[in-house]
Symmetry: C2
Subunit: 292 residues, 2 copies
């Protein structure tokens, strides 16, 4: 079994991006972070993204709005960022308050600045295998892990557990495409799939993105499979100061010995998501104008 | 075995649409057909669509351009249709000449008038399960056949043979969604899938969309499966005046006795594609303004 070290691979990407950004002479890429309310997890995620941007030389602007802002009010703010030519990428941190429709808000971000890849146009371009697409960051990060570890996907069987818009659906589409990684036979399973093990046991590459702590157990995994764990779940742990610890959707201790490759939680897919956001921001900058 | 009669179901849809359109008092839906060159199959497809539109009471305008028109020239023509508020739907008949990039042309049609559903934005909205999406007509027609025959999909296994942008990918996404039909476990197979039978033999619903005449044989189909044949292939036939006949991707004579439901070719999915185009045009009209 080999651990897929997401921190190490994400660091390599951050270094590569830093080298690219250092060649830009007259301006730098700029990403706008939009946060609504003070949810502690959102505050911490956005701070982590700001830090990584700073390390690379990407400028970032933080816009914080009160939880009480109306959806129309938020759309107006996004519109002014869409119009602002100094801003190359826009990230609206999820989750949004209950009185908003996330799909409407994400679809309102200009497709050219949609570095999160949540916009319908970018999702469609991903399905079209258009290189111009901004691919949503977690699926892009998963594919990048597979690519950099040199794991073969052509003719292999990929099983995706979960059909979310942000992870499940797009990651399956990426492995189904004609690129490399790609050309896999892809099966989508979810909460309505009976006999889950029947499918997961056939997977050469198993992607768990269902948000249920340690749901994937060793009896569900074929010996020698590659296991990608997208889940980030808090479970109570009295030995920790915080009173909890993070676990994935995979029962790591039991599954790892059977796998050929496996991502840990934390330190697997998570850091890749941030790295791919930065890669998308650099791409948005390069598309916006000839860098100089 | 029960035959799924696409002509009969498409006729029912045409009748329903005719009744709806007859209630519009001051204006009628209008679809623009754009054809480039004189490919006989394209001429015949467009004529069939014009006829069906006429029967429903949908106005149609035909725009024919010479094969030598540049891509930019065609995009300008589409732009003027995008701007024309009397036109509610635009269909650019495929295939386009070799000097054009079909994806670029299809993506240029305004998403609000994209009754063919080939635009990236509509494909993304389909993935987002947005009811506003124009779903491309063949996948929408397949789902409608399944719905009207009352075939259960929840928890069932759907296997899609083919990963095209126009049929394979979107039809799988529709069966994966949370609607009804929907909630299926979906597997995509294609030319790079080894041991195809291993997958197809597990299908409760098998969708063949690979464009290879009579490729699906009886040893690939589970007894009792529903078989949807999307292929339209010409094979030589000396007994016909034309010298050819149409067959699907399924070896109908041999597969039919094993299936519980099966679509014939012709007369299965084909007529549904035209009917769903008309349904999309009525939808575009209703979205464009309050009908009156």
């Amino acid at each position: 079994m080999e651990l897929i070290d997401g921190n190490e691979i994400a660091s390599a990407i951050v270094e590569e991006l830093t080298a690219i950004v250092s060649t830009y002479r007259t301006s730098k890429p700029c990403v706008a972070f939009v946060r609504v309310g003070e949810d502690p997890a959102s505050v911490s995620y956005v701070r982590k993204k700001e830090k990584t941007a700073g390390r690379i030389g990407i400028e970032s602007k933080l816009f914080v709005f009160p939880e009480t802002i109306s959806q129309d009010g938020l759309l107006q703010e996004i519109d002014s960022l869409n119009q602002n030519s100094d801003v190359h990428g826009i990230l609206v941190q999820a989750p949004l308050p209950d009185h908003m429709d996330e799909r409407t808000v994400f679809n309102f971000v200009s497709p050219e600045k949609d570095v999160d890849g949540f916009n319908a146009t970018n999702l469609g371009k991903l399905c079209q295998e258009d290189e111009d697409a901004f691919v949503s960051c977690t699926p892009a990060g998963i594919v990048e892990l597979i690519r950099r570890k040199g794991i073969e996907t052509e003719g292999k069987r990929v099983v995706v557990l979960g059909r979310s818009l942000i992870v499940g659906k797009p990651v399956g589409m990426l492995f189904l495409g004609k690129g490399s990684p790609g050309n896999a036979t892809v099966t989508y399973c979810h909460s309505r799939t009976p006999d889950l093990e029947r499918h997961t046991l056939e997977a050469d590459i198993l992607i768990a993105a269902i948000g249920r702590p340690r749901f994937v157990t060793e009896n569900m995994v074929r010996p020698g499979a590659t296991v990608i764990d997208v889940g980030i779940n808090r479970i109570p742990d009295e030995t920790k100061k915080s009173g909890y610890r993070l676990v994935g959707d995979v029962d790591f201790e039991k599954v790892a010995p059977k796998a050929s490759y496996i991502t840990p939680v934390p330190g697997g897919v998570g850091p890749m998501t941030v790295a791919m956001l930065m890669a998308n921001t650099v791409k948005a900058y390069e598309k916006s104008a000839a860098p100089s």
